[in-house]
Amino acid sequence: MIITGLLCGALLGFVMQRGRFCLTGGFRDMYLAKDNRMFYALLIAIAVQSVGVFLLIDLGVFEYSAGALPILSVIVGSFIFGIGIILAGGCATGTWYRAGEGLIGSWIALAGYMLMSTMMRTGVFGPLNQQMQTSSVLPTNSIAETFGINHWFIIIPFVAVVLFIIYKQLTKPKVAIPKLKAKRTGLAHILFEKRWHPFVTATLIGMIALIAWPLSAATGRVFGLGITTPSANILQYLTTGDQSFLNWGVFLVVGIFSGSLIAAKASKEFRFRMPDVKTGINSFIGGNLMGFGATLAGGCSIGNGLVMTAMMTWQGWIGLVFMILGTWTASYFVFVRPRQKAKAAKLKQEVTTA
């Protein structure tokens, strides 16, 4: 049944590639362009998944306990992860699906990410990771448990807020966005050409994140979508030959790559693209920071940002906040500051020549 991971991942990769679902870009644009659309899309995906998963838990399909909260490592790890995804030009999942589009820069980021995630688990940084994970731990991770209330008292207000945001966004006066000339018709047009509305993409991603739970639980892995541990597992399996590293999650991430490759090929968006030296180096450094941060925080933008948030845990929401702060900090140094410097230099030049 491990093969369902491949199908689930392929669906996810397909939807993300076609929907241009990029959380890194979304977090970055909240700061650079004062544009929250992608963040709202993420909230939709969280809401869909949250309602579904807690219904399944209440129905007794599987049991889940959020456990304790290693608060320090969540905060530090998420912030570092946020910096890493800006340098790498995509989050963990984003990097997997862009690798499927043929971007060599994403292959480089992925190599760094897999390497560092492994080093943090079974490698030289294992003890450091262990120490951070156990240094400051709070007993409850579940928000509902902290307040001693039923989880629906958190989920229902959250869903109400999300519905209100959707209503506000969809009733805003729209600017017509220029479209590509359609070259196909019918289903082929919708699947491989048409621009997907981010909210539609987000709803689909929420549903995929939801079905991931029972599918994964059926193989003994009681969790939803996860990227970092499986990415490390691949390298661990390849270097040790130990088959116990091959789990549902490994097939999931391989599926993301395959699904995106299929989507990109079918929509004529696949091509091997080599980055310049600077982008290549940034991708590698970013990938390493991603692996370091995500392992420390116990999740990436999917594991914490999409799944643990939907489980209404402190880890998910605190992780999400610090991840976003990390992307903003890195955006300042990568995008804002160089531009300000260039402008200042130009002004100075004009003054001296005048």
Partner: protein, 74 residues
């Protein structure tokens, strides 16, 4: 006047940032032709152009993962 900007090989958000910078140096009515191969740019560049009030006069896929967009400055 028409200016051509080739940002092939650049990944997002750099094609957009380059386009915004190039646009600043143009005069009203001038056209900027951006040639890019970053998939996510097919979303971000036309969106920025429309929201900034510029006119997109052409937007087409030219090859496997290659696009061209022509934007007239407002």
């Amino acid at each position: 006047m028409q200016r051509k900007l080739e940002v092939l090989g650049m990944v997002c958000p750099f094609p957009l940032i380059e386009a915004q910078q190039a646009m600043e140096e143009l005069n009203s009515g001038d056209e900027l032709v951006v040639e890019f191969d970053c998939t996510q740019g097919t979303e971000s560049i036309p969106r920025w152009a429309a929201e900034a009030g510029h006119t997109v006069t052409e937007f087409e896929q030219t090859d496997e993962a290659a696009w061209t967009i022509t934007i007239r400055k407002k």
